[in-house]
């Protein structure tokens, strides 16, 4: 039945003119993404002590990401729905691969060395999991029954447990959040939601005593009282809040932040990059960034709301909220509201896999968007 679509496309006259029109993407989304990435490059340049080396590398990652995004946007939405299980399975296998042969960095095995490129499969899972769960739930009755919810929970926990073993608790939590959003948006019953909430609360103590490693506990304790260990574990938080606070309304100016430029700020080009922005561009910079993020999330939700298919809605919606959680967690972590969990600021922080994965995810959303546009033009 899909073949007929294909045949019809072939018969469309005027192939040459079609070519331009056949590159389909959501230009609103693309423009917001471009602005955000541009901001990222500016801040990375400043955060690395004006190193063109890091900027160039990040630019290459961004270009790769945009290429993949546009490529993904060309596939019909059906493609993603149908191939979701395979993509999910590849992701899980890659995760197992990391535990077997992964490269160890900072005591955690998160990287898969494919010779030409280093992959971080746990990062890919942030897209694979919502894709899989959306595809699974969309085919079932809405709202999902207990049976289907349980199956979905199992599908979520497999990659989550694998990531916990790397060990990377922060990413594991974020991955489960992505899956949770799909279930929530699919209209899972309130009593399940309340049940899950109670269960999560009850699990906290056992998490503390059995799962969390000493360094992870240390980070939580540091959060509660950073002054306690000023030069040790509290160092990061004190330095980052100082950077943010000293920025004021309008900041010290690009490449003029003393905290960032004099090397007081740790991880300034990765997880703590928002502190550089806050110091050099002030609250105005932070608000501008937040506005851009809000536009981005809003656009994704709009695409989800106007999608004619359940899969499209779930996928677009869950990615939008997941993205919000990433931003939220990072902003909290750097300003000392949450423990340091190793979560980069999406689209701004330096890092290859993260940006490529995010842009790939937006590519899928664009593919969903194309579908709803088509739906509108027909009706």
């Amino acid at each position: 039945m899909y073949k007929s679509d294909f045949v019809r496309q072939l018969q469309t006259p005027g192939g040459g003119i079609q070519l331009r029109r056949s590159i389909q993407m959501d230009y609103t989304l693309a423009i917001i993404l471009l602005i955000l990435c541009g901001m990222g490059l500016l801040i990375i340049y400043s955060a690395t002590g004006q190193s063109i080396f890091y900027v160039r590398r990040q630019l290459i990652f961004m270009l790769t990401g945009f290429f993949i995004m546009i490529l993904f946007a060309q596939f019909p939405q059906r493609f993603w729905e149908r191939w979701a299980p395979v993509i999910y399975l590849i992701g899980v296998i890659a995760l197992i691969g990391v535990l077997q042969v992964g490269v160890e960095i900072n005591g955690a095995q998160r990287w898969l060395d494919l010779k030409f490129i280093r992959l971080q499969p746990s990062e890919l899972m942030k897209i694979c999991v919502p894709l899989m769960i959306s595809a699974y739930i969309a085919k079932r009755a809405i709202p999902p029954s207990l049976k289907h919810v349980s199956a979905a929970v199992i599908l979520i926990s497999i990659p989550v447990l694998l990531v916990v073993r790397q060990p990377d608790l922060g990413t594991a939590l974020l991955i489960s959040v992505t899956g949770f959003f799909v279930l929530f948006l699919a209209g899972i019953k309130r009593r399940y939601l309340i049940g899950a909430f109670v269960l999560a609360l009850a699990a906290l103590p056992s998490l503390w005593f059995f799962v969390m490693l000493d360094y992870q506990k240390q980070r939580v304790l540091t959060l509660l009282n950073p002054q306690h260990d000023k030069l040790g574990a509290g160092w990061n938080i004190i330095q980052s809040t100082t950077a943010i606070g000293s920025g004021g309304w309008s900041g010290k100016g690009w490449t003029q932040g003393t905290q960032s430029q004099l090397n007081f700020l740790p991880e300034s080009h990765t997880d703590f990059i928002i502190a550089v922005l806050a110091e050099e561009f002030g609250l105005i910079g932070v608000l501008t960034l937040s506005a851009l993020y809000t536009l981005l999330i809003g656009r994704c939700l709009y695409i989800g709301l106007s999608s004619p298919s359940m899969f499209g809605r779930l996928m677009a919606g869950s990615i939008a909220y997941t993205f919000f959680v990433f931003v939220f967690v990072n902003l909290c972590m750097v300003s000392g509201l949450l423990p340091v969990v190793g979560a980069p600021l999406p689209l701004i922080s330096y890092g290859g896999t993260a940006i490529v994965t995010l842009l790939a995810g937006f590519g899928i959303i664009m593919s969903i968007g194309n579908e709803s546009k088509k739906g509108r033009s027909v009706s």
Binding site: G49, S145, G187, G245, N263, L314
Partner: protein
């Protein structure tokens, strides 16, 4: 389970979805404003406090590098040391104008364009305010020039650093290896946070294999700086944990004796302590000075080493693969006995050559010109006189598959598992091996060649030493190892290396030990000349391995051929024969005969070892 509450209508589904989106968005907006409230609080309400704090912020955290672990021989003699060197480093952010600074520096001291080039490469990968080395190992004069001018050299600094030093020079280069600067490929594969305090990494040998243990753990120092970032004083310090000191099984005296007597010959020598499997000596000559590599070897020195036809950088002991020649005869003899192909009573007649049905060209014995070894040759005699024809017959009867599978239990044809990288497996050929690598079927003639350690068969000197140690210990599962302890506690990384146990009848071991002892201690033995005036007994076996094949009707004449094609001289031995302590293998490339070249050298080395043991026993008593 039939869920009645499920929707069928898409409009209803959409409505539910929209409600959820609305709910989630409200939550998101609320928590979003809470976070922004936090930023507002920090940036507006508390702004003045933080500005003050930021202006007073003078405390920096700096990595403090741990000293690398030292390496000792079994008697506590130092093989790898650290000594302070002074390097010129630059912090780009403080230099103002980098090109001007570099120019000023070049006018004061000599800085090569190579130095500048490497410096600029490192500069690209630096972190803000990182000290980037420009020139290593400053002389005292250079240091004082820089010291006097330091006031006008903003951004440049002379820093003292511990640098690896190998006091034994070339004597241990192949075993200990060396450290060198971290290159780009290594930089991608290491956890850079562990290497913040150093720019060296183990490149070869023990230094590489035990890199993790030797490296140590980084410490941190909080220092107060002035407003421009220059360090004023140290506030607190978390001390680094030094790398672990390693003690080796190596005996430095034995190693030096062996290397001195081998001189510049292309040769390799490996000795194993039978009780432990510990390597007593591992020599590959010619050698080189590892100290040249530590701070970066000059292009000229390097190409000299690489282009030298004696290949001093090549570790022959573990990477050199040679035809083992007659040294494998004791092993094959044991395989024949254990598989009941021959008995100790079995005898053959040796006319000096061997004819295989259907093959025109005969296989010659090494003494075919004297008419062979005569009649009634048994296994012991075939070992003592090294009779090839006996082994041609026996090898054919055993068959290549049995030879191959049993040889592997002696350590031939596979890596021995020593705690070094880059060990070669040698070749123990079999039917499937030949099919796979050459795509050809196996011939009986191939078996005949292998049965005297020629043909396709190749082994490393280390493998031959392991084989000898397993024979000497009557089949112990010996895994060769270099490191015996870490910080005084027993430690090796390769203890769990899997080996198939050797199950050979006790009387066969006794028989073979006797035969090998008679190689040295009876007049007909091929190594009889080294048996004179010995105050201990040696059991050994000579070997002379052909490098090129000589036609059956031609004589091998040293004077007629190029020296690089002369035979390799080999000798394996263990001693004392009645209660073995040490097993060894020696190969001299193109050295001629095992009996005339290799065995006498081995005798000198063994004498040195036992004299030392005796001396220590006297001291101890």
């Amino acid at each position: 389970m039939n869920d009645n509450s499920a929707f069928v209508n898409d409009t209803e589904m959409k409505r539910l979805f929209s409600r959820r989106v609305l709910f989630a968005s409200i939550v998101a907006i609320v928590v979003g404003f809470m976070v922004l409230g936090r930023y507002f609080d920090l940036q507006v309400n508390q702004h003045q406090d933080f500005v003050t704090q930021s202006n007073n912020n003078r405390v920096l955290m700096r990595p403090v590098s741990p000293p690398r672990g030292l390496i000792f021989d079994r008697n506590g003699e130092l093989l790898a040391d650290n000594k302070p060197t002074y390097n010129l480093t630059i912090v780009n952010e403080r230099s103002g104008n980098l090109e001007v600074l570099l120019n000023d520096l070049r006018q004061l001291i000599e800085i090569s364009s190579q130095d500048i080039y490497q410096f600029k490469n490192r500069l690209k990968r630096r972190k803000p305010y990182q000290n980037i080395p420009l020139k290593y190992n400053l002389s005292e004069r250079e240091r004082s020039i820089l010291g006097v001018n330091s006031f006008r050299l903003n951004g440049a600094e002379v820093s003292a650093k511990l640098t690896r030093y190998y006091p034994q020079g070339p004597f241990f280069a192949h075993v200990i290896g060396y450290v060198g600067r971290i290159n780009e490929i290594e930089n991608r594969n290491i956890d850079t946070s562990l290497y913040r305090g150093t720019d060296s990494i183990g490149k070869l040998g023990i230094e590489k294999y035990y890199e993790h243990a030797l490296l140590g753990k980084l410490g941190h120092e909080h220092v107060e700086t002035n407003a421009r970032g220059r360090v004023m004083r140290s506030l607190s310090k978390e001390d680094p944990i030094p790398g672990a000191n390693l003690e080796l099984y190596l005996d430095a005296n034995l190693q030096r004796t062996a290397q001195k007597i081998l001189g510049d010959k292309r040769a390799a020598f490996v000795a194993i302590e039978i009780k432990t499997g510990g390597i007593l000596a591992m020599v590959s000559t010619p050698s080189y000075d590892p100290n040249k590599f530590v701070l970066g070897i000059s292009q000229g020195d390097y190409s000299e080493l690489v282009n030298s036809e004696n290949q001093p950088l090549f570790n022959r002991a573990i990477r050199g693969q040679y035809p083992p020649g007659s040294t494998i005869k004791p092993m094959f003899g044991l395989i024949g006995l254990q598989n009941k192909i021959i008995t100790t009573k079995h005898v053959i007649d040796d006319p000096g050559f061997f004819v295989l049905k259907g093959v025109e060209r005969p296989w010659r014995d090494h003494n075919s010109d004297k008419g062979g070894h005569g009649e009634g040759i048994d296994l012991a005699q075939a070992i003592i006189e090294s009779c090839d024809v006996y082994f041609y017959n026996m090898g054919l009867d055993i068959g290549i598959e049995t030879l191959a599978s049993f040889s592997s239990m002696f350590g031939i044809g596979q890596v021995t598992g020593i705690d070094l990288h880059g060990e070669q497996p040698g070749i123990m050929p079999s039917k499937s091996w030949k099919k796979l690598t050459l795509g050809e079927p196996w011939f009986d003639g191939d078996t005949i060649n292998v049965s005297i350690g020629q043909g396709f068969m190749l082994a490393t000197p280390l493998q031959l030493a392991v084989m000898t140690a397993r024979i000497a210990s009557r089949g112990s599962q010996i895994v060769p190892k270099l490191v015996s302890s870490k910080n005084g506690v027993n430690y090796t990384k390769n203890d769990n290396f899997p080996i198939t146990p050797l199950d050979i009848h006790s009387e066969y071991w006794t028989y073979m030990h006797q035969a090998m002892r008679n190689v040295v201690h009876t007049p007909r033995g091929t190594a009889y000349r080294i048996g004179k005036d010995l105050n201990y007994l040696i059991a050994g076996k000579t070997g002379t391995a052909q490098v090129i094949s000589i036609d059956a009707d031609k004589e091998y004449d040293k004077t007629q051929i190029d020296q690089t094609k002369w035979d390799h001289a080999l000798f394996i031995a263990f001693a004392p024969a009645e209660d073995p302590k040490i097993a060894m293998a020696l190969i001299v490339e193109n050295g001629g005969h095992g009996s005339s070249t290799a065995a006498p050298i081995a005798r000198v080395i063994l004498d040195a070892y036992f004299n030392e043991v005796e001396k220590q026993m006297l001291v101890g008593g």
